[in-house]
């Protein structure tokens, strides 16, 4: 399975045996999947992988039935989960919470009803609710990005940073990045929020270029923001910027890394396909004796021209 390649070490699966116990009786089991709607590129990719996985697993496991719901806000997601419990009597729930706090009580209620709970990417506010936690590694994302910057700029240099929407995710990434470049001579001369949005990052980068005479490199921290940054640099006709480092693994950016584009020499993954990992593992837990409870951390991997091909999904919208 191709997504397995994106999984790094850090997989600490603890044996509790609950997965095996659930798999014993012979009726059809229902797995509910609740995820945020495709409102931006990364979420679009995540939706794509969720649908693909559900379609594939329905064929592989005749004894499993799936309910997939996408929510455009936390309130709708709470309703979705309540509906799944009330009308479909789900045996397991795979949930990527829109926000941690509002989703914690309803997911807790699902867990208390005896269903298996898999939480993806964003953790809940109370520990110990979920049976399986498939987590992205945000500090690691920042660290890998920072280490790459250091390796590319041994002499140090001046960089600007575009941040995402102000959230814990963004803070963890930036802190990871800052500690990775500490003492390397790389100086962050400016930092602003581009909100993981192409237009916002375009405007911010235009202003950075007016403000600073010399920018050696840009940590755009996201591939959508990298698109805006590149357009701004291009329009300003500046050649002081050596390269732009995005993140997430958008197919257009992977393509550029593959093609050896000098402005986009690398990318750092934060794979939306982690939802597939979560659904697959949940299905394994429900249908076999293999223990799958615990925490599964999906590491952020550096993509360069050498390994880019493994991360290129031409069919995905992201």
């Amino acid at each position: 399975m191709s997504y397995m390649k994106t999984l790094m070490a850090g997989c600490t699966v603890l044996a509790l045996g609950a997965g095996g116990a659930l798999a014993q009786d012979g009726e059809t089991k229902v797995i509910g999947v609740s995820i945020p709607a495709a409102t931006h590129g990364w979420a679009g990719g995540m939706n794509f992988h969720a649908q693909q996985t559900v379609e594939r697993l329905e064929e592989v496991y005749p004894g499993l039935d799936f309910v997939l719901a996408t929510a455009s806000d936390p309130g709708k997601q709470v309703n979705d989960i309540e509906d799944m419990v009330a009308t479909r009597n789900i045996d397991a729930l795979v949930v990527l919470p829109f926000e941690s706090d509002p989703l914690t009580p309803p997911v807790q209620a699902v867990a208390e009803s005896g269903a298996w709970v898999t939480v993806v990417d964003r953790g809940l506010s109370v520990e110990g609710i979920e049976d399986l936690y498939v987590a992205g590694d945000n500090p690691g994302f920042g660290r890998v990005s920072g280490e790459y910057m250091v390796s590319q700029m041994p002499e140090g240099g001046k960089i600007v940073v575009l941040r995402g929407i102000p959230t814990t995710i963004d803070n963890e990434r930036v802190e990871g990045f800052q500690s990775a470049i500490e003492g390397s001579g790389i100086e962050i001369i400016d930092m602003e929020h581009g909100n993981w949005n192409r237009d916002d990052s375009f405007n911010v980068m235009q202003d950075f270029l007016s403000k600073h005479e010399q920018i050696d490199a840009v940590w755009a921290s996201d591939d959508d923001m990298a698109v805006g940054v590149l357009a701004a640099i291009d329009a300003a006709g500046r050649d002081d910027v050596d390269f732009v480092l995005g993140g997430a693994g958008m197919k257009e950016m992977i393509q550029r890394v593959m093609d050896g584009d000098e402005m986009i020499p690398a990318d750092v993954t934060y794979p939306p396909s982690m939802i597939a990992t979560a659904i697959e593992l949940t299905a394994v837990g429900l249908t076999s004796n293999a223990p799958v409870s615990g925490t599964f951390t999906i590491g952020s991997v550096l993509i360069t021209a050498e390994n880019a091909e493994q991360f290129y999904y031409p069919d995905s919208p992201f």
Binding site: A37, A38, T39, H40, G41, A43, G44, G45, N47, F48, R163, P166, D190, M191, E192, H193, W196, N197, R198, D199, F202, N203, V204, Q206, D207, F208, S210, K211, D224, V227, G228, A231, A235, A236, E252, S316, P317, F318
Partner: protein, 316 residues
């Protein structure tokens, strides 16, 4: 006197910007600020008429995203037939204008002929267009073919005599809008309807037709803004044009147009748009304020600009 409020706010902003960063008044920065104001600005001119006539349109941001997506799809689809060249760009422009006018007419029809509250109709169409663009893009991003993008790019980045096209189009829109508002019968009818619909009706103003026209015109201007927007990044997604409607409405109100209708000022809207984008620009050019507080600064300045306007009015 009431005209002074927003102008004072703008002048103060320019002085602050110049004092904080020497690059603020550089030609490159002024071009950046004016060009990026053009999208909201062009839309806000249309919004001035809608609001003056006592209406409101919340759907313009999603509408712009939808039209951008549609334009990209049509141009990509026509590429094998037409090839890269002027005809395909013209086709894209026609699609944007027709889609904009159609969307505006639909809003206007539901509001005038069926008599549904403008807030509800446009809240509904806002959701519809936002979903449609997400659906068209399959949750991802619609991108214009690379060769086409390179050819189309000068429409945003190019210009004549060093003035870029978005600024020229914005200026032309403002001039035509200003003439329509203050010199033409259409503008007077809008104001009459906005201040009292019944009186306007008895004074032989065709209320429904005038209102319908304001929405159609706004839709067309959304199309024009999209024509300028697409060549910039060559892409559209669900995050395109988010909150443009509120920025446009804020610009109109900062500029002195009355939210409940009856009085509109196109040039004031321009000042409003410039104030909004200049705040963003100044916050990016300086390190005085934590970026977490950008929204708060914007909010304070919007409210201040409107207070200044009222104070001045009370004295005058």
């Amino acid at each position: 006197m009431s005209v002074l409020g927003p102008v004072i706010a703008l002048v103060v902003l320019i002085l602050v910007g110049t004092a904080l960063n020497s690059n603020f008044l550089s030609a490159a920065n002024i071009t950046n600020v004016l060009a990026r104001s053009a999208f909201i600005g062009i839309i806000a001119v249309g919004m001035t008429f809608v609001i003056t006539a006592g209406g409101l349109d919340l759907s313009v941001g999603s509408m712009a995203a939808f039209i951008a997506g549609l334009m990209i799809l049509v141009m990509n689809a026509a590429l094998p037939v037409l090839g890269v060249g002027i005809p395909i760009i013209l086709l894209g422009m026609v699609v944007a204008l027709v889609a904009g006018i159609a969307a505006g007419l639909l809003n206007g029809f539901l509001i005038t002929t069926l008599g549904i509250e403008a807030f509800i109709v446009t809240l509904g169409s806002m959701g519809i267009y936002r979903s449609l663009v997400t659906w068209l893009a399959d949750g991802g991003t619609l991108s214009l073919d690379f060769g086409l993008r390179t050819f189309y790019r000068p429409v945003y980045f190019g210009g004549i005599f060093g003035v870029s096209w978005p600024i020229i189009v914005f200026a032309l829109t403002v001039i035509v809008g200003e003439v329509l508002m203050s010199r033409a019968r259409f503008g007077r009818h809008c104001a009459a309807i906005g201040s009292n619909e019944n009186v306007a009706h008895y004074s032989n103003v065709n209320v429904n037709r005038t209102r319908l026209l304001t929405y159609a015109m706004l839709g067309m201007l959304v199309g024009v803004a999209t024509i300028m927007y697409v060549p910039r990044l060559g892409s559209a997604s669900a995050s395109t044009g988010v909150l443009w409607e509120l920025e446009a409405i804020a610009a109109v109100i900062i500029g002195g147009t009355i939210l409940k209708g009856g009085f509109g000022r196109v040039w004031g809207t321009v000042i409003g748009v410039l104030i909004l984008s200049m705040i963003d620009n100044i916050l990016n050019l300086t390190d005085l304020v934590s970026p977490y507080l950008n929204g708060a600064i914007q909010g304070v300045i919007i409210i201040l600009a409107v207070i200044l306007q009222r104070e001045a009015k009370a004295k005058g």
